[in-house]
């Protein structure tokens, strides 16, 4: 038996649509000022992760698909509600559908050759390795905690992060672009003051949803921004332009800047984003390393030795994508049963207990997403396959303030 944790799935076109599909949409037939002809063709090599696929993020994803982007990774745990209709680009029949999956299908229909993957779960549950190949990360979430998480992941992976948001009552759009080039720049958490920390503590939700359904905020919700669709659309368009400027090097550099647009005056203001030296986010940059054969055939000790050239230190922590380390399972018996192996994340039972007949379940107190060398003990030297890992996409190694994302070497390095 398994629970239903969100899974990252690549979206395919229905067979009939496949027959009609003609690959990428033609690239915009235009020459950009100051660029070589065909500069926009470079978009086909890019993969962009979009966190938050609502009224802004969803539009950004579709705009990028229309330009024939190489790949999109769409992350959003929520579904459309009736209150989404005034601001989101959806039809009434979309109500109830997963935002990530619905936007993914739309993107795939627009650009069949674009690789589109949807993750209808919280970004915290997405393995870091899934974002490692992204050229940039876009976020348009409605929770400050998601901003911090996306900011942290982008910092670790040194990915440019574009944050598009609106304030409905003042018709204001903000697009922040965190360059994350050398770890010296700002992250979203750097910009928080007392008001944001208070809203973070209350997990206030900044919903763009309009209409009567959103009129009265529920407990733990900030008043809905009640944006207009037009202002969300403006945020998405400005966000895409900032992405293009940054990734294609168009115009003045936009890294570590905030672009603000006010709908009442049609004025724009650009200001720098500066790092807060007291920011509690981890501003270190993860190294990336590849090992030459399938990870599951290696032990953690071997993988670390090959990837870093040195043995795993005693304070090492390991996180294997999609897996948890389980020390003990519980059943109807008084004492927990030892497990000591990796279990696919979300697996709810480990078979029947021969003594009491009840199903054994991993005990959360004895389950680790990141497991230390101290807890692994001798298991650090055993092949992962013998510890329950059939296929390992990545290993995240943390040692003190440093970290390395270890992945298997692609069989054909030239393939995307």
């Amino acid at each position: 038996m398994k629970t239903n944790p969100a899974r990252l799935e690549e979206v395919a076109l229905p067979r009939r649509a496949q027959q009609r599909a003609s690959g990428h949409p033609p690239p915009p037939a235009m020459a950009l000022l100051g660029c070589a002809a065909g500069a926009l063709d470079g978009l086909r090599a890019l993969l962009i992760a979009v966190i938050g696929c609502g009224s802004i993020g969803g539009r950004i994803a579709v705009l990028l698909a229309r330009m024939g982007l190489g790949g999109l990774l769409l992350v959003d745990p929520k579904s459309y509600k009736p209150a989404s209709l005034p601001t989101h680009e959806i039809d009434p029949e979309d109500v109830g559908k997963s935002k990530a999956q619905a936007v993914a299908r739309r993107c795939k229909a627009v650009s069949p050759a674009t690789r589109v993957a949807a993750f209808p779960g919280p970004v915290e549950a997405l393995d870091l390795a899934a974002m490692a190949d992204a050229s940039a990360v876009v976020m348009a979430p409605d929770l400050l905690s998601v901003e911090i998480e996306a900011g942290q992941r982008s910092l670790w992976l040194s990915k440019p992060l574009i944050h598009a948001s609106v304030h409905g009552p003042t018709l204001t759009v903000q697009v922040r672009l965190f360059g994350n080039a050398g770890g010296a720049g700002a992250c979203p958490r750097c910009l928080y003051g007392r008001a944001e920390l208070d809203l973070l503590a209350r997990q206030a939700r900044f919903s763009c949803e309009g209409g009567p359904a959103a009129a009265a905020p529920r407990p733990h919700e900030a008043p809905a921004t009640n944006s207009l669709g037009a202002i969300c659309s403006m945020a998405a368009s400005l966000g895409v332009l900032q992405i293009l400027r940054h990734l294609l090097g168009l115009g003045e550099p936009v890294a570590d800047t905030m672009l603000e647009y006010c709908g009442f005056t049609h004025r724009t203001v650009i200001s720098p984003l500066e790092r807060n030296p007291k920011c509690p986010s981890d501003h270190t940059r993860l190294g990336q390393a590849a090992v030459s054969e399938p990870l599951a055939g290696r032990s953690l000790a071997e993988a670390v030795q090959q990837a870093t050239g040195v043995p795993a230190p005693p304070d090492a922590q390991f996180e294997i994508a999609g897996h948890d380390w389980v020390e003990f399972a519980g059943c109807g018996c008084e004492r927990p049963a030892p497990v000591r192996r990796f279990i696919a994340r979300g697996r709810a039972d480990l078979g029947q207990c021969p003594r009491c007949g009840a199903m054994r379940v991993p005990l959360q107190f004895h389950t680790y997403r990141a497991v230390s060398a101290a807890i692994l003990g001798a298991a650090i030297g055993r092949p992962l396959r013998r510890l329950g890992v059939r296929r390992a996409v990545s290993i995240l190694l943390r040692t003190g303030d440093a970290g390395t994302l270890i992945r298997p070497q692609p069989a054909n390095p030239s393939s995307p």
Binding site: A201, F365, S372
Partner: protein
Amino acid sequence: MIPAHSTPAPTLDDLRQIQLSGIYMTMWELAQKECGGPAACRQRFAGELHDLLGLAQISGRMIVHWADLSAGLRAKVEIEMPVPCMPDPAGPLRVAPRALLGVIYPPEAIFMPQPGYAFIRILSPRPVWLSTVSVDPNQPLCLGAQLPAGIPLSEIVLMTYGALTLQTVQLDRLDPAGVLNAAAADWWQRNVHRIPLTREPFLRSEPNHAT
């Protein structure tokens, strides 16, 4: 540092200054040796574990059996307190004299608010009969919809004591903040005369203000 025979007795405000006794000092030092993660997390976890051990030392009702800082903070903590149990759904309420708790303080809890069920698993007794404790084998205890980022571990332990002894109660099954066992919520609504199970304060040295 508080001398062994100082007066007044150490309070919750003094946790960071408490000189840990032999076994707890050893436990603290060993845990710090294996402490992993970024420097900011290591310092915070060392401080939180010190406070937890100090709390056990002055409480007169709590023992820390095991602590680990190698991947976040985890500790196995026993607290002497009345804990309601219902081994037979149709039978009488049983009150266990102590609880063994699994305490989990993940690194992300330092910087981000966490759901109220993130920190405490009741390892024994079972099955605990409380609206805020789930009936699944993990027996998570819910301490509210959200707990703030960086909440001190000692505060979580005090909240746990209040919740398990029913000094603080949440019985409204329509309130999303905390009801994990609706049947227990209904049962306690019919048996409010049994609430709380004790009026004793957590620190045994504190005066009991019960009337």
